[in-house]
């Protein structure tokens, strides 16, 4: 591993616990990974895997009450875990920004769209009203919104879903952050719009030299747009590595199941969709063993009793957590 100084983001043993009425709930457990400049990371998992909580915790945006975070998140060398709200606020918007899933709820419904963008510019960058307005219109254009001067005065409700999400992206980019966290940015949108938005993110990433973390449940999204991925299940990382490696040489059965369950265009029509039997575990009652064991076709006794740790798989950067992993393609001689 190269030294942390050159990395944009270093996450080490990050754990987020919620104190609920039913007991402590570990939404994110012992997550570690890093990200370099201009890299794109994908965080993949089902609902309830903890990926949203993870992205919020990375940024330091987790709710303040009844939440404990342990571990470390170093953004450009600055520690986020345990930092004061004031210190974190300095980073928000200018160093790291987030694009939220549902643009209808993430935009203030009673405030004009343009105002929501230039608010950041005026408060954080100290721009004058006129300058901020001009820059906001520039940003609207950058994200591909037609007639930006008119749209500047619109309310979010007047825009379509895709356009709203573009506005959210524009707001996030306003102060040129170095890291963009996109939390399921396209899940609520029409399929046709999804590709547009994802392409837009790619473009912007190149143009503005940003690193991006893409959080999603959809493997199709990460396949071509990320260089590294992290697969999460029940709050823990179960496999991680370069995208190519994880797609072609995954070892953890859950990863295989995830891949299998996404429909492929190359399959003949009427192919039955494979699903993963069972449901994700209740995070309040986690067992000592591997969280995936109840649903895993390859589970052994050891899997049910002991939780597997992340172990290297051969190719540098490729880690997985499984006692009974799938056979490596390399070993069998398939490359």
């Amino acid at each position: 591993m190269s030294d942390s100084a050159s990395k944009l983001l270093v996450v080490n043993d990050l754990t987020t616990t919620f104190a609920t009425l039913g007991g402590p709930l570990t939404a994110v457990g012992n997550v570690s990974f890093d990200l370099s400049k201009n890299e794109t990371l994908g965080i993949v998992g089902e609902s309830g895997s903890g990926k949203t909580v993870l992205s919020r915790t990375i940024m330091g945006l987790q709710p303040r009450r009844n939440v404990t975070v342990s571990g470390s998140v170093l953004l450009n060398g600055q520690e986020i875990v345990g930092a004061s709200e004031k210190a974190k606020r300095k980073l928000w918007g200018t160093e790291v920004a987030m694009v939220f899933q549902d643009p209808m709820t993430s935009l203030n419904p009673v405030m004009r769209v343009g105002k929501q963008i230039d608010e950041t510019l005026r408060v954080r960058l100290g721009m004058s009203r006129a300058d901020a307005r001009a820059r906001a219109i520039e940003l609207l254009e950058l994200v591909g919104i037609p007639s930006p001067e008119r749209r500047y005065d619109a309310f979010p409700g007047a825009l379509s879903g895709g356009m709203r999400q573009r506005v959210v992206i524009a707001t996030a980019l306003a102060c040129s952050p170095k890291l963009l966290l996109a939390d399921e940015p396209t899940t609520g949108l029409d399929v046709t719009i999804q590709a547009q938005i994802l392409n837009l993110l790619d473009e912007l990433k190149e143009r503005l030299h940003m690193s991006v973390i893409l959080v999603t449940h959809d493997l199709g999204v990460v396949a071509t747009r990320t260089s590294k991925i992290v697969v999460m299940y029940a709050g823990r990382i179960v496999e991680m590595g370069s995208t190519r490696e994880v797609f072609t040489n995954h070892r953890m059965p859950y990863t295989r199941a995830l891949l299998d369950s996404s429909p492929k265009i190359t399959n003949p029509s009427h192919t039955r969709l494979t699903t993963i039997p069972g449901r994700p575990p209740n995070l309040l009652n986690l067992t000592n063993g591997c969280s995936f064991a109840p649903r895993c076709a390859y589970a052994t006794d050891r899997c049910r009793k002991e939780r597997p740790e992340l172990t290297p798989a051969g190719e540098p950067g490729h880690l997985f957590a499984c006692w009974n992993p799938l056979m490596s393609n390399r070993e069998v001689g398939v490359s």
Binding site: K90, G93, M98, F100, S106, N108, V110, A172
Partner: protein, 281 residues
């Protein structure tokens, strides 16, 4: 009997009845009254010989002034306190304020006013109660506000507890919404988020609660006027009841009811305009 005084005897009584139209069946009498009302004539009180109209017209501005002053007072204190409370829910400030407001709302306005008077007159020796003490706005506006201060404060306390609770809980709920998290992620300060982002949607609820407040407001208004002898509609109403001046009672009840209905209408109207979300539905 009351009117005729010493000249009361069966013949005169019959004559008087005829004159006043009291010999017609009660239903007819009622409709005649409504007819008069629609023409703007609320009748002349038998007891005081003053037209109901003028009594009401003299008393109404006082009520309006009391309502306006007390509500402004209540809001001026409730809004900043609720914002402060909602900024750190369940924090020490919030707990104190919420507990305090809860306790206050369990103290009915008539008790508040009694104790306030006790406090003021005994501890500080001020005695500005009684109908002679009330000074109308036109003559001396400073003395006017002074004489109404105790009443306004009492009413304000009751309204404050409602506004505070409603606004605080609505703010806390609004703060959970996604767009607030997004505003946070832009690096905006909590204070700015509360005032610029959270307050606007929550103010709609505040408006809504204002119309709910009217019931309690009226009760407090009447009680306070009666106790402090401020000649508003409440005072007139209770006096009218005590002197069996039914015509005046009818008139006041009518005016107040119409007033309340009107105010509710206006509030609903304003709410529909202010919140673009509702009008879209």
């Amino acid at each position: 009997m009351v009117i005729l005084g010493n000249a009361y005897n069966p013949t005169n009584k019959a004559l008087l009845y005829k004159q006043l139209g009291l010999n017609k069946p009660i239903i007819d009498q009622y409709f005649i009254w409504i007819g008069h009302v629609l023409h703007g004539n609320l009748g002349t009180s038998f007891i005081s010989r003053v037209s109901v109209d003028s009594t009401i017209r003299a008393a109404l501005p006082i009520d309006i002034e009391l309502i306006v002053v007390s509500q402004i007072l209540a809001l001026a204190i409730a809004i900043p306190l609720a914002m402060r409370s909602a900024r750190k829910p369940d924090g020490p400030v919030d707990r104190l304020l919420s507990a305090g407001s809860f306790t206050l709302l369990s103290i009915p306005p008539f008790i508040v006013v009694v104790f306030l008077v006790l406090l003021v007159s005994i501890k500080w020796g001020l005695a500005n109660t009684g109908p002679s003490a009330y000074v109308s706005f036109g003559t001396d506006w400073i003395a006017n506000l002074e004489s109404l201060s105790l009443a306004a404060i009492t009413i304000a306390i009751g309204s404050f507890t409602l506004y505070f609770r409603v606004l605080r809980s609505d703010l806390v709920a609004t703060m959970q919404e996604e767009f607030i998290t997004m505003a946070r992620s832009k690096g905006l300060s909590r204070r700015r988020i509360m005032w610029r982002h959270a307050f606007r949607p929550s103010s709609v609820t505040l408006l809504g609660s204002a119309s709910v407040n009217i019931g309690g407001l009226l009760a407090a208004l009447f009680v306070v006027q009666y106790f402090l002898a401020i000649p508003g509609l409440g005072y007139e109403l209770i006096s009218a009841i005590n002197t069996s001046d039914y015509l005046l009672v009818q008139g006041i009840v009518l005016v107040v009811s119409v007033g309340v209905v009107l105010v509710n209408f206006i509030f609903d109207f304003i709410i529909n305009i202010v919140d673009p979300r509702i009008s879209r539905e």
